[in-house]
């Protein structure tokens, strides 16, 4: 069951991001569950695994639901790898670090999307979008990252411990 924790978290994240949050949101504002999983996995498993997981998630979402392939993959890869920068460098119970990384990653992701929309000819007010959508969505993602990290940490505890020991040796 514990081995399946990450795939289960990903499946739930895909379901939330592609179906539930699209129908159930606050005036269009919604968290990014998969970003929360990518960041948390990066913090718990390291940059390489976090980055690879991020690319995988991003490509999957782009292929199935995105307008072009690669945009989300960049954002999720950076999120996973950025989470990994704090791998084994702080008390694993600390949820502030993953929350902070999620905040920065969410901002980065939304700005990548914004740039893509601009390049494809879309027009919008930057200040309005940041104030009314990007920042509130980022806060929701941060709020979601904290429980996701606690749950993933608990589920991956054995794997994290083993890697910790291997690292010391």
């Amino acid at each position: 069951m514990r081995r399946a924790a990450l795939p289960i978290a990903l499946l739930i994240g895909i379901y939330l991001d592609s179906i539930l949050f699209c129908r159930l949101n606050i005036s269009g504002i919604r968290p990014d569950a998969l970003l929360a999983v990518a960041v948390s996995a990066g913090v718990l498993l390291g940059s390489v695994k976090g980055g690879l997981l991020g690319v995988g998630i991003g490509l999957f979402m782009d292929v199935l639901f995105g307008k072009c392939v690669g945009l989300s993959a960049i954002a999720y890869m950076v999120a996973g790898a950025a989470g990994g920068m704090f791998y084994q460098k702080f008390y694993a119970d600390n949820v502030i670090v993953p929350a902070g990384v999620a905040a920065v990653s969410a901002l980065l992701k939304e700005h990548i999307m914004m740039l893509a929309v601009r390049l494809s000819g879309g027009t919008f007010s930057y200040a309005e979008m940041v104030g009314a959508y990007v920042l509130p969505s980022m806060l929701l993602t941060v709020a979601l990252t904290m429980p996701v990290h606690v749950l993933l940490k608990r589920a991956l505890a054995r794997q994290v411990r083993t890697e910790h020991r291997a690292g010391r040796a």
Binding site: Y15, D17, S18, I19, L20, C22, R23, L24, N25, S27, G28, I29, R30, D32, L34, S47, V48, G51, V55, G58, F60, M61, D62, V63, L64, F65, G66, K67, C68, V69, G70, L71, S72, A73, I74, M77, V78, A81, E110, M113, M114, A116, V117, L119, S120, G121, G122, T123, F124, E128, M129, G131, A132, Y133, S137
Partner: protein, 283 residues
């Protein structure tokens, strides 16, 4: 700075970002779906269809929580039997709503006898508000092809932009990159609609390029004009909500804001126009 480029993982990530950026650029235009994407979609499609259907119950559950007062909750706890009956009633209501929706679609396809349709369920949406793209559970297996128009009982939804074996992607008319050639139903003036990108879920369209001296009033219905090969003529696109005052020498300024006829926030089933009745007859 030089030290940063000696960091192997950092360099690999930088290369990956560049490659993914190139991939995104290459796939942003018109293209056909690769076999890998098609297979991935075909594997995931049944799960997504199931999950999408199951969402109705989950959303109903959340709505019940937020709409129920404390007293109601207490009452619900005390009378299990009543709750059970309520559950059955709710299920009936849901089925009735689904029945109504499908009947409406059926009526629409009956009214529009000129076209042949394939009905499909929406099984997933793009993340965030930046792009209005959604996935449906019909693809090449149902005769869907790229650039086919997608409608529902209320009007124009969008067009097929990618086709997989058992799934397709639809770019809706409210996407900021989508343009539709339209006309004002009352005056037959020809123009162009474009999706707008706004924070929040107030999906709107903008109307451009009407001939000078146009006569437009709020409430005017905008329909497709049939120019180009994508959208057939006469499909309702939206209703004028606000007419803009035209300024000198600014031909690109919008002429009006439109409320789309389709409720994009609650899109569950759509119909893809696969051909005209005449084409069928010829075959």
């Amino acid at each position: 700075m030089r030290g940063l480029f000696k960091n192997k993982p950092f360099v690999i990530m930088l290369i990956a970002i560049v490659l993914l950026g190139i991939l995104a650029f290459a796939t942003s235009g018109e293209r056909s779906v690769s076999w890998l994407e098609s297979t991935l979609g075909a594997v995931v499609q049944p799960v997504q269809t199931f999950a999408s259907k199951a969402s109705d119950s989950i959303i109903g559950f959340f709505q019940r929580i937020f709409k129920t007062t404390d007293a109601d909750k207490e009452l619900e706890q005390l009378s299990a039997r009543l709750a059970q009956l309520e559950g059955v009633a709710e299920e009936n209501e849901k089925l009735q709503a689904e029945n109504e929706r499908l009947k409406k679609l059926l009526n629409y396809s009956g009214v529009s006898e000129d076209y042949t349709f394939v009905t499909a369920a929406v099984i997933g949406n793009s993340q965030g508000i930046w792009f209005d793209v959604f996935t449906i559970n019909a693809g090449r297996n149902k005769g869907i092809q790229k650039d086919m128009a997608v409608v529902n009982a209320d009007g124009l939804v969008g067009r097929i932009t990618e086709v997989g074996a058992t799934w397709s992607k639809v770019t809706s008319i409210i996407d900021s990159s989508t343009e539709v050639s339209v006309m004002v139903d009352r005056t037959r003036d020809i123009g162009l609609t474009r999706g707008t990108l706004t924070a929040g879920d107030d999906n709107m369209l903008e109307l451009y390029f009407l001939a000078s001296g146009y006569d437009l009033v709020p409430g005017d219905v905008i329909i497709t004009n049939g120019m180009g090969s994508v959208y057939p003529r006469g499909i309702t696109v939206g209703t004028v909500t606000e007419v803009a005052r035209r300024t000198e020498g600014s031909s690109a300024d919008r002429n009006a804001a439109l409320q789309p006829s389709v409720d994009f926030g609650h899109l569950e089933e759509v119909m893809v126009i696969t051909g005209t009745g005449e084409e069928e007859g010829e075959e």
